[in-house]
């Protein structure tokens, strides 16, 4: 068995998902330690100017893949892996991240991150696919659990246990998405805090926080709305349990004015600080 790099040695700090529409605002944002770029949006040759400028300013850059379909029936595509590895190299990435999801099946592209069944069989396939991905990458891989309105029947374990076993078996890092946890807990009726405690918190590479909206009692993780208070409470709850290496705001649409974005980043940092204070007192 080959040895995969499993440790991200660098602390990331506060981050934001880099999007061309946010470039100006992020270039002026205070206190950012890293940005995340969607790997598939980066071309074969040049980096977007804003990403190159962020590197020059000393920010760390984490490529975030959305198309490997690690939870799919097919083994990860060599060309997609090579692209992810190439982006990682070009931005001197401390790690890369991808999803515990499938995005294509039966020759059809979904264009979305869809959940996998939480079964032993799916876990086996994921472990094989993740190992293939790790072999193709020269930096650690962090895995993110997704928000899903639909659940597969016949689940053999809950999401926290499923993710924990996947992380333990593959040696991958965890990209903990607190908005996805909030969404799934709300929509499928379980306690987010109880579940939070059972994720492999010691394996966190960084944390995602994104906005969402309630429609007809269902919470939608849109990344196009402000971060709801319940998710900020989870940030506080997480930092009360552990000192996560980084926490990143994702905004993908309906881009807010610069001041609003700065206020969201500040609110996340405040929640993390409050959590850390609880931990220090405990």
């Amino acid at each position: 068995m080959s040895l995969h790099p499993t440790q991200s040695t660098r602390r990331l700090g506060q981050g934001a998902g880099w999007r061309p529409q946010l470039d100006d605002a992020l270039s002026r944002a205070c206190g950012l330690g890293f940005i995340e770029v969607v790997a598939e949006s980066i071309g074969e040759r040049d980096l977007p100017g804003g990403v190159a400028a962020a590197l020059q300013r000393g920010l760390q850059v984490v490529p975030h893949g959305v198309s490997l379909s690690l939870g799919g029936a097919e083994r990860p595509d060599r060309a997609r892996l090579a692209h992810l590895a190439s982006v990682a190299e070009r931005v001197h990435a401390p790690l890369v991240s991808e999803h515990i999801a499938f995005v294509r099946a039966g020759g059809r592209e979904s264009g979305h991150l869809l959940p996998v069944p939480r079964t032993r069989e799916a876990l086996e396939i994921l472990c094989e696919n993740v190992a293939i991905a790790q072999d193709a990458l020269r930096v650690p891989l962090a895995l993110e659990h997704v928000a899903a309105l639909v659940e597969w029947p016949g689940a053999e374990m809950d999401e926290a246990d499923f993710v924990r076993e996947l992380i333990e078996r593959t040696g991958a890092l965890l990209l903990l998405d607190l908005s996805n946890l909030y969404a799934n807990a709300h929509n499928h009726g379980y306690d987010a805090y109880e579940a939070l405690d059972r994720y492999p918190l010691d394996r966190i590479a960084y944390v995602h926080v994104g906005g969402g909206v309630f429609r007809d009692g269902v919470y939608h993780d849109t990344h196009a709305h402000p971060v709801v208070p319940g998710v900020l409470h989870l940030v506080e709850g997480l930092f009360a349990l552990t000192d996560a290496p980084g926490v990143l705001l994702e905004r993908d649409d309906d881009f807010p004015p610069e001041a609003e974005l700065a206020a969201e980043l500040a609110a996340i940092a405040d929640a993390a600080r409050r959590g850390a204070q609880h931990r220090a007192r405990a």
Binding site: L114, E121, E151
Partner: protein
């Protein structure tokens, strides 16, 4: 490794059957049909609607004049389209929107702004070769919209007022 013994008791996964189940779910979500057995129908319907709405949102942002033209009918009309046709392989919302707009024009006339937007979208999507098209528009005043894209350059357009103008 504590997990080796445990792992050996798990039969080798059947990737073909696993993929077939995923394809069934995907077909139901994208096409808006009945989900496979065992899935909660309401959950699958909400999930499918959410995926199609997200796709429609990207198209709406790429072609805002088309959305204004369709008004309140956009959401339902796009949902209908999305259930019947997958997004293009490029994933480009502009291309997706143009295919949708073409389907709409088979049923009704679009206003001038939406037609102009479609022409500009076609020019933007032309990656190689020369693109040159013109279209008569009536509002806010009669004019000829000429859109040109030269190889290696972005689209350019010029609006030529009709000589009988704004009378």
């Amino acid at each position: 490794m504590p997990h080796d013994a445990e792992r050996s008791t798990v039969p080798a996964p059947d990737r073909v059957a696993y993929g077939a189940r995923q394809a069934q779910l995907l077909d139901a979500l994208l096409g808006g049909g009945e989900p496979p057995e065992g899935f909660a129908v309401a959950q699958a319907a909400a999930s499918g609607r959410s995926l199609r709405r997200k796709r429609g949102g990207l198209v709406a942002r790429a072609l805002p004049a088309l959305v204004l033209d369709l008004g309140d009918a956009f959401d339902e009309r796009f949902d209908e389209h999305a259930r019947a046709f997958d997004a293009p392989a490029s994933g480009d919302p502009l291309e997706d929107g143009l295919l949708f707009a073409r389907a709409v024009t088979r049923e009704r006339l679009l206003g001038d702004d939406a037609r102009a937007e479609m022409l500009l979208a076609r020019a933007a999507l032309r990656r190689r070769g020369l693109f040159a098209r013109a279209q008569w528009l009536r509002r806010p005043h009669p004019r000829l919209l000429v859109v040109v894209r030269l190889p290696g350059a972005g689209p350019r357009h010029v609006s030529l007022a009709a000589p009988w103008g704004r009378g």
